[in-house]
């Protein structure tokens, strides 16, 4: 794995805006960054990323079945009791799921296996840029001669998404609504892209802001014209929905939700200690435990994460030398876990984190995000990759 500088395509911003990538720059800061790329060998991709992703995915899926029928574990994961039965039913009935992203710390050949930081299995983002714009970058750079003919990329993400939509289409009422927070350019861009993939799979789609969803007298969710929403893809955390006024209506609404209710278990950082408990010593897992004393000082060599944190918020990290780094955020209302400190590798541009995608149940591609600090946050930049 290497970081290699390369000239930007002169017209990439215009392409981005023409092709639905309005969030290439966020709040004045670059998000898409093609001044460099990460180069992997095929072996690094297949042996170190793709295979472990498939393996960890299976371990995680195996866990769901145990957790849904164990009240003490559901409580441990801080999942509210009124949703337990609904979550368990969705698992028993195999409610279809679409996708997830695993984040790995990985430095390349010789430095040891990729280590799982966390699963983002409910509302993973950086999807469009990984699945589409990164692919376009490679094709155009090869066509321009800036990358060698025969350069490849680990990226079957979009094609696998369309297949996955086509597979679950049979079980979905139509149309499938796509929903996210109205004011988020990035989230709106991501659901527009997902809806595009669904349409390519033959599904009829509509969009609605999450704030605009209504509730009918008989407990069903509605769109702004009072049509019943029977199938909803939401880029909005399940645990937010649980805590909000309309959440109580979820179990009885008969809504087909994507991601499905059982993803509440896999998007929860409590999955990390549970995985470690069952598979202690697995080469791709880091030691992790529930942290019942978050008020105590964190010992050197450990990272403290809230069960529900997103985008690297509210993470506290103590390096092996005892240096402390902390990220701010709003997720102060849930229990915590501790995970063994395992630093991201350092390259010229900062610290890259590997986002490895699972669509349906297939490991199918990756995206790299770089941050200037050891904690990857929403300030990170997406950097494309190549297999050579």
């Amino acid at each position: 794995m290497q970081r290699i500088a390369i000239a930007e395509r002169p017209d990439w911003r215009a392409s981005a805006e023409r092709l639905g990538f309005q969030f290439h720059t966020l709040e004045g800061e670059p998000y898409w960054d093609e001044r460099a790329y990460y180069a992997f060998s095929l072996e690094e991709i297949e042996r170190d990323i793709e295979t472990p992703t498939g393996e960890v995915h299976e371990l995680a899926m195996d866990l769901v079945g145990d957790v849904v029928q164990d009240e003490s574990l559901l409580r441990r994961l801080a999942i509210p009791e009124p949703y337990w039965e609904w979550i368990a039913t969705s698992w028993r009935e195999a409610s279809p799921h679409l996708y997830g992203r695993m984040d790995f710390a990985y430095a390349g050949d010789g430095s040891g296996p990729a280590k799982l930081y966390e699963l983002n299995y409910d509302t993973p983002t950086s999807l469009y840029e990984a699945a589409f714009f990164q692919w376009l970058w490679l094709e155009e750079q090869v066509a321009r001669g800036a990358l060698a003919q025969g350069s490849d990329q680990y990226n079957l993400i979009q094609e696998t998404l369309i297949e996955a939509f086509a597979t679950i289409a049979k079980r979905l009422p139509r149309p499938l609504y796509f929903s996210a927070v109205r004011e988020s350019l990035e989230d709106q861009g991501t659901i527009a892209y997902l809806a595009d993939c669904a349409e390519q799979a033959g599904l009829a789609t509509r969009k609605i802001a999450i704030e605009d969803i209504g509730l009918s007298e008989d407990g069903r969710y509605t769109d702004t014209d009072d049509y019943v929403i029977e199938a909803l893809f939401k880029l909005y955390p399940l645990e937010f929905m649980f805590a909000e006024p309309f959440g109580a209506a979820l179990p009885a609404s008969r809504l087909v939700l994507i991601e499905p209710p059982w993803k509440a278990i896999l998007s929860n950082k409590g999955i990390l200690p549970l995985l470690w408990q069952r598979h202690e010593g697995h080469p791709n897992l880091l030691p992790a435990f529930f942290d019942d004393k978050p008020e105590e000082a964190l010992p050197a060599g450990w990272v403290r994460k809230p069960l529900f944190s997103r985008e690297g918020a509210n993470i506290e990290l103590r390096t092996n030398d005892g240096d402390t780094q902390r990220s701010d955020g709003p997720y102060t209302d849930a229990p915590y876990i501790r995970q063994a400190f395992h630093p991201l590798p350092k390259f010229d541009g900062g610290y890259p984190l590997i986002g490895s995608w699972v669509v349906g149940d297939r490991a199918c591609g990756l995206g790299v995000r770089e941050d200037a600090s050891l904690i990857t946050q929403d300030t990170s930049r997406f950097v494309p990759h190549v297999i050579r």
């Binding site: 092709l19 969030f23 966020l26 709040e27 984040d103 983002n120 509302t123 983002t125 589409f132 692919w135 490679l138 094709e139 090869v142 066509a143 990329q153 990226n155 079957l156 009422p173 139509r174 996210a180 927070v181 988020s184 990035e186 989230d187 527009a192 892209y193 809806a195 595009d196 349409e199 390519q200 033959g202 009829a204 509509r206 999450i210 704030e211 605009d212 969803i213 209504g214 509730l215 009918s216 007298e217 509605t222 049509y227 019943v228 029977e230 880029l235 909005y236 955390p237 937010f240 909000e244 006024p245 309309f246 959440g247 998007s267 918020a313 955020g329 997720y331 946050q377 929403d378 297999i387």
Partner: protein
């Protein structure tokens, strides 16, 4: 090769877009979009033009006179479709058939072009409230190869009594980061 040979964007690009990659050898594919509507209004509501919706409704209705399930007696039709039955005159004697309660449009989406209308089929509602469509087995011809199958959609309107019951966590946590989700 560990990447896709070709990718398309239909709706989010300014115009439908398709690129066959450097190593791509297959022909660009086209995509069919289906939509089930119980009225011309509902069809337009879903972003289709008035013209396409009217045409789809008419052609489904015409198709229905040829392909709808036929019953010798009113009682047989009612047993299946309840009140939604109608009588038709025919040279070889009259028959009973269900009334169309909606239509399914198929449109072809392809790069660089507006959606192309393909066809439209009638949808019926049986007495249990299930929407059904007529299908024809390939090669089965009209005789024997025809059946009905359920359309996986329920009645699609209800009275909304409140809104904005979702979204407050994002608002409460805003001012930090650009969005509500992520990871």
């Amino acid at each position: 090769m560990k990447r896709s040979r070709q990718l398309a964007l239909l709706a989010i690009a300014q115009t439908p877009w398709l690129l066959v990659g450097c190593d791509g050898s297959s022909a660009p594919q086209e995509v069919t979009k289906q939509g089930f509507y119980t009225s011309i209004d509902a069809c337009q509501h879903d972003g289709n033009s008035a013209e396409v919706c009217q045409r789809a409704s008419n052609s489904a209705s015409t198709a229905g006179t040829n392909t709808a399930p036929r019953y010798k007696s009113k009682a047989e039709c009612i047993a299946e479709y309840g009140d939604l039955c109608t009588e038709r005159e025919h040279e070889s004697g009259g028959f009973w058939m269900p009334l169309m309660t909606g239509f399914m449009i198929s449109q072809l989406l392809s790069p660089g072009r507006a959606p192309v209308y393909l066809d439209s089929n009638p949808i019926y509602r049986n007495r249990t409230g299930q929407y059904t469509e007529v299908y024809r087995d390939r090669g089965g011809g009209l005789a024997g190869g025809v059946g009905t199958r359920p359309v996986d959609i329920a009645p699609n309107r209800a009275i909304t009594v409140s809104r904005s019951g979702f979204g407050s966590s994002a608002a409460a946590r805003s001012g930090w980061g650009g969005s509500s989700r992520g990871g």
